[in-house]
Amino acid sequence: MRGGPAHTLPKDPLMATARRRANRLTPYLFVAPALLVLAVGLLYPIGYMVWASFLDWSPSQRIGEAEFVGMRNYVGLLGDASFQESVRVTLVFAAAVVSIEMVLGVGLALLLDRQIRGMSLLRTVFILPMMIAPIVVGLIWRYMYHPSVGVFNRTLESWGLEPIPWLSSPDWALASVIIADVWQWTPFVFILSLAALQSLPRSALEAARVDGASEWQQVWHIKLPLMLPVLIVTALLRLIDAFKVLEVILVMTNGGPGLSTEIVSLRIQRTVAEFRQLGTGAAMSIYLLLIVLVLTVAMFLFGKWREGRDARVRARAAEAEAA
C-alpha cells in the first residue's frame, strides 16, 4: 500500500504487513504435509542407506550396534572382482537391451504407422507383454527356455537341430535374459515411437514425397530427425530401467551360471541375503544410484537445453514478425 489513501482494511500498517506475510506463506502451508510425507517416505530411507553404507553391519545387529568403518565399504568394492564383474554385466545388459529395443521398437512403429483396418487391435496385442508382472515374465521365459520340455528346444529338436543350453551355459545365459527383456520392453519403445510418428506434420512428409524422397529417404531425412527428441528421452528412460532390472533375471537364472548374469541389483541382493553384509550392500546401492542419477540428470539437462533452444527460436520468430 504505497502512497494514496488505503481503501482496504485494516488501517493499522503493522497489521497489514503481518497479514500480507501470512498470505504469502499460505501456499507453503498447504504444501507442507506433502513435503513432510516426501521427506519421511523418500529421504529417510535414502539417508538410512547412506548411513548404513558407512557401517560394518550384519542383520543380527541393531543399526546402533554396527561399527562405523568410514569409506571402507566403498574402497573395498572398487577392488572387488565380483562387484566389478556385476557392473560389467549390468553395462553389457543395459547397452544391449536398449539398443536392440530401440531398433526393433522404432522399426516396428515405422512399419505399422499405417491406416489399415485391424491395426488398433494389432497395436493392443503388441503392448501386452509390457503389462505382465516381471516375475511372471521370468517364469514364462524360464519354462520356454527349459532344456528338454521348453518350446525353443523342442522346436529345434523337431527341426533336427542340436538343443541350446539357454540358461545353463555361461555363454548363452546373458543372451537369453536379454532376449526376454527385449520381448517385454520393445512394446514400450514401440508405443512412444508410434505416438511420435503420428504427431509428425503430415504435410512435410507429403512435401518430401513430391520432392522425390523414397520411403527410405523419408524415414532417414524426415521421420527420424523429427522423432529424435522423443527417441532420446525414450532411450534414457529404458536405460535407467535396465540398470534396475531384478525380478526377471532373479527368476530365470538367479545370476548364474557362475556370475554370467549377475547384474548389480542381484549382487546387492546376494550380498545382503547370502553374505549378510548390509553395509557393503548399501554401498553398492549408492554406486548404482549414482549411475542412474547421472542418466537422470543427463535427461533433465537435455530437456532444459531443448526448452532453451525453443525459447530462442520463438524469440527470433517474434523478431522476424516485427521486422
Binding site: 506434420p201 504435410s203 512435410a204 507429403e206 512435401a207 518430401a208 514425397r209 513430391v210 520432392d211 522425390g212 524422397a213 523414397s214 529417404q217 531425412h221 524426415i222 530427425p225 523429427l226 525453443d310 527460436v313 520463438r314 527470433r316 520468430a317 522476424a320 514478425e321 521486422a323
Partner: protein
C-alpha cells in the same frame, strides 16, 4: 513440356463425393489457374495431380503417360503447399535444396541455385534459419523457393500468396508473372483471389462444388460468362443481378428499361422472365441516360468512384468516372450499352 489431361476425374471421401467427373486439358507450357470458393475442390484437384490423393475414378495423363497410380516422385513436379509444409528441422537453405540433394546434384550448382532463388524471394538473410524462426510470409516464400529451385516440368501452387501482405503479394505476383515468361513450364495455380487469377492465368478454370463452371481466358470469362456463377465470381466489384422481363425488343425491370441488340434473348423462357446482369463498369454517366440513380453510398477512389444506390428496390453498385467526388443524395442519369448487358435464365442460371 507435357500436356496434362484430367479425364472424368472423380473423388470420394468415405461416402461423400466431393468431385464428379472432372474433365480438363492443360496445354503445353500453359499457366492454368483454378479459382472457386472455399471447399470447391481446388486443393483436392491439385493433390490428385500431384499424386498425394488417391483417384476414386478416372485418369490423369501427363504428356500422354498415364500417371494415375504413380508415386509423386515419378511425376516430375514441384508443389507449393497451402500450409507451407516446410521441414521443421532443416534451415531455409536446406529446405530449399532438399530435392536437389536427393538428386545428388553437384554441391556448387545447388548452392548457386539456392542463392539465386533466395535473392529473388528476399530470403538471403534468412538462409540459416529454421522455419520456426520465420514469420508466416517468410515461410510462404521459403515454400515457394523450394519449388522454384527445382527443374520440374510442372509446377503446382496451392494459394502460395495467401499469407502475404498486400504490397508483398503484389511484388510476388509480378515476380511470378515474370518467372512464367522466363521458364516455359506448365503451371497450375490455385487461388480464390480473382485478381490473381485474372492477372496470372493464361486460362482460368472456375470451379464450384467439385464441378467446372467454365474454362477460358480471362477476357472470355469477363466478357462472356457462361452462367450466373461465373458472372458473379469474376470481376470486381461484382456484377449486379436484377430480375427482368423481355418485352418487344427491350428488357424491362424495376427502375430500368433497356433496348436489346438484334438477335438477343432468343433462348428466353416463354414467360420472358430473365435475370439481368450488369457490371458496375457497364454504367456510364450520360445526359440522355434513361436510368435515374440516387446515390446512397459514395466511395471515391480517385479517377473512379464506386456508388451504391437502388434500381427499384434492388441494391446496385455502379462504377463511374468521376472528375470530382459524387455527393450522397445526388441523382445521376445513367446509361448502359446494349452489348454490356448479360441475360441469364432464372431457372438454369445459364447465359442467354
Amino acid at each position: 513440356m507435357p500436356v496434362i489431361e484430367l479425364e472424368n476425374l472423380r473423388k470420394d471421401y468415405g461416402g461423400a463425393t466431393v468431385m464428379e467427373g472432372l474433365d480438363l486439358t492443360m496445354e503445353d507450357g500453359e499457366f492454368t489457374v483454378l479459382v472457386g470458393p472455399s471447399g470447391c475442390g481446388k486443393s483436392t484437384t491439385l493433390r490428385m495431380i500431384a499424386g498425394l490423393e488417391d483417384v476414386t475414378d478416372g485418369r490423369i495423363l501427363i504428356g500422354g503417360r498415364d500417371v494415375t497410380d504413380l508415386d509423386p516422385k515419378e511425376r516430375d513436379l514441384a508443389m507449393v503447399f497451402q500450409d507451407y509444409a516446410l521441414y521443421p528441422h532443416m534451415n531455409v537453405a536446406r529446405n530449399m535444396s532438399f530435392a536437389l540433394r536427393l538428386q545428388r546434384m553437384d554441391k556448387a550448382e545447388i548452392d548457386r541455385r539456392v542463392r539465386d532463388v533466395a535473392e529473388v524471394l528476399g530470403l538471403t538473410d534468412y538462409l540459416g534459419r529454421k522455419p520456426a524462426a520465420l514469420s508466416g510470409g517468410q515461410r510462404q516464400r521459403v515454400a515457394m523457393g523450394r519449388a522454384l529451385v527445382r527443374d520440374a516440368s510442372t509446377f503446382l501452387f496451392d494459394e502460395p500468396l495467401s499469407n502475404l501482405d498486400a504490397k508483398l503479394r503484389g511484388q510476388m505476383r509480378a515476380e511470378l508473372a515474370e518467372t512464367r515468361q522466363r521458364v516455359e513450364k506448365n503451371m497450375i495455380y490455385v487461388t480464390h483471389d480473382q485478381v490473381e487469377a485474372m492477372t496470372l492465368g493464361d486460362r482460368i478454370v472456375v470451379m464450384r462444388a467439385g464441378r467446372i463452371m467454365q474454362v477460358g481466358t480471362p477476357e472470355e470469362l469477363f466478357r462472356r460468362p457462361r452462367n450466373l456463377f461465373v458472372a458473379g465470381f469474376i470481376g470486381s466489384p461484382p456484377m449486379n443481378f436484377l430480375p427482368g422481363r423481355i418485352e418487344e425488343g427491350r428488357v424491362v425491370g424495376e427502375g430500368f428499361a433497356l433496348p436489346l441488340g438484334p438477335g438477343r434473348a432468343g433462348g428466353a423462357a416463354p414467360s420472358g422472365a430473365v435475370t439481368v446482369g450488369l457490371r458496375p463498369s457497364a454504367f456510364r454517366r450520360a445526359a440522355d441516360g434513361d436510368i435515374p440513380f440516387r446515390v446512397e453510398i459514395s466511395e471515391y477512389l480517385g479517377a473512379t468512384s464506386v456508388l451504391v444506390g437502388r434500381l427499384g428496390t434492388a441494391r446496385v453498385q455502379v462504377e463511374v468516372d468521376t472528375p470530382a467526388p459524387v455527393r450522397v443524395g445526388e441523382t445521376l442519369q445513367l446509361g448502359v450499352d446494349p452489348d454490356q448487358l448479360h441475360l441469364f435464365d432464372p431457372q438454369t442460371e445459364a447465359a442467354l
